[in-house]
Symmetry: C2
């Protein structure tokens, strides 16, 4: 097993990325290909004690920044750590690729360099939610406008992922909507709801409201990338807002500070369950090989989790399952 | 000042509605028109000590339920407490109408019975968010599909409301979007962003992400009703999810329970700031007279707050300001 790492992608690259790889090396027996500025990588490896015996370093001259336009970056920065890394994955020089860099560029590069799995119309970013039950948001922000057909494929791909990665035999699928009744939503949701109801490859439970999504309403929450982004960032923002309110409550006086000390551990655990870095990276489902997007603000811990997720993902052969499942629904529509 | 009340609307009607009116009567000098089943109203008035000297009771035979289809309810249940109440407002038999009933039916009835203010293309529901700064979400769920022109009017109407009701001289306006850069979003957001930028009647600050909306990014958060509903319910759901996690943290053992006791008051205050019932009702902006939608699950406290909000709203003449502001932008486009 060889994991290819974009050493230059993310707000805290390359230092925290390499620190994350160093920590992951101790927890697995995979080998690594580190793509980026080789001078930086070697220097940080020495500083942090990263074991380079299990690493190949591939030197690349340019970096895609967070502000780069995805399409322009894909076209003009083919010598960047991200695009070179994706090329190595496409050429079979590794089993999975992890990047914390520009989401749009990674999605575009994965689609055009590694390519979509056979039969997949659009890949999508799957993100695990801080829900009471395992729940994957599909799409978390890649496809701003979609068709009902794409949403059906997102449902099938998300189900394959949850089956293999979470061991859920029949993952439930819900459509994010502004009410639970049939007929709710824009024409897109109305059509998607009918289509998902008729899809025998999944266990569809119907429309799911934003208020129910974190309480175990479904294992795969299907939506377009625009709404998915609004949903995900609202969860993050509301969580942050509440935890800050809580912090100011605890900071009030000596009694409240004492009170905080008493539940320190439990609070840390709760905070952890709302922390995206704890869930590892987000897979780009529908790409022919495993590509994992780590959060842009990833620190070493987040990268380590994303790397371990990438290993499990590559071992699971979810990409093969997805291809098969998507072809099955296409065939069943022809019959 | 006379406030018309839909005594039969909402999950806890009529009992909690009338209890709320009883409590509001003690805090204001307005008079009330209670619309609904007069037998029920009189009985509950006796039970709760509601002062009927300041109330007129209007008997109505039917009730619009939460499950009724809005258009059908509007057409077939003209003798319901909600539609009769709206008719009284339209006929000048009161200064504001408050209902905790079916949102879609209330919106439809307000639009066709009380009618839109001159120049307004679509009314919208404005909901105050649990943000660090006063922030009104426009539209919170009434218009599932909108045009960029509607969004511009929502911005102008929301600004007029925040100016009068919150004393903010130049309320900032943001567009809910999946990124802050120009060009983000679906074609609708791209067009609306250009339009809002060019609108001299408002103080536009650009696109606002879901994660920033609760941290004072703007005073008026503009969006279509579909996205607004997803946003609002996600805030509610995430808040509930975190507060429940916190509750289970506190219930763990004797130390954690002791810790909870020590910050009891502060926690209650924090919970209150995330409680929609504390913010009173949501105005339907763009209707020619004040119509206030209280939360469907409103208890007495929520109804009392919605009634007091309705009084302030009627006294403020925001409806007049909105009419003027909307006409101003139409005229400025012609010149």
């Amino acid at each position: 097993m060889r994991i290819i790492i974009d050493a230059m992608g993310g707000d805290k690259a390359p230092y925290e990325i390499l620190l994350g790889v160093r920590d992951a090396i101790c927890s697995c027996d995979a080998e690594f290909t580190l793509v980026g500025n080789s001078g930086d990588i070697r220097r940080i490896a020495v500083d942090t004690g990263l074991d380079t015996d299990r690493c190949v370093i591939v030197d690349t001259p340019s970096v895609i920044t967070m502000d780069d336009d995805p399409i322009t970056a894909f076209k003009r920065k083919r010598d960047s750590s991200m695009m070179v890394g994706l090329g190595l994955l496409a050429d079979g020089k590794g089993d999975a690729f992890v990047s914390a860099g520009n989401t749009g560029a990674l999605f575009t590069g994965a689609t055009f360099i590694v390519k979509r799995a056979h039969g997949v119309s659009r890949a999508a970013i799957g993100t695990v939610l801080p829900s009471t039950e395992p729940c994957l948001l599909m799409d978390a922000g890649a496809n701003i406008t979609v068709s009902a057909e794409y949403l059906e494929q997102f449902a099938v791909m998300g189900s394959a992922y949850m089956r293999k990665m979470y061991g859920i035999q029949a993952p439930t699928v819900g459509l994010l909507n502004n009410g639970t009744e049939d007929g709710k939503g824009t024409p897109l949701q109305v059509e998607a709801n009918s289509r998902l109801k008729a899809c025998s490859a999944i266990k569809y439970v119907g429309n799911v409201e934003g208020s129910a999504a974190l309480f175990g309403a479904c294992n795969v929450l299907v939506t377009d990338g625009f709404t998915g982004n609004i949903f995900l960032k609202t969860v993050e923002g509301t969580g942050k807002r509440l935890l800050r309110s809580l912090k100011s409550v605890y900071g009030k006086n000596i009694f409240t500070r004492l009170s905080a000390l008493m539940i320190r551990k439990q609070l840390a655990k709760m905070k952890k369950s709302f922390d995206p870095s704890e869930h590892g990276g987000s897979p780009i489902l529908g790409i022919s090989k495993p590509v994992i997007k780590a959060h842009g603000s990833s620190d070493a811990k987040a990268i380590k989790n994303a790397v371990l997720e990438a290993i499990r993902y590559a071992q699971s052969n979810v990409t093969g399952d997805i291809s098969e499942a998507v072809e099955d629904i296409s065939v069943s529509k022809l019959l």
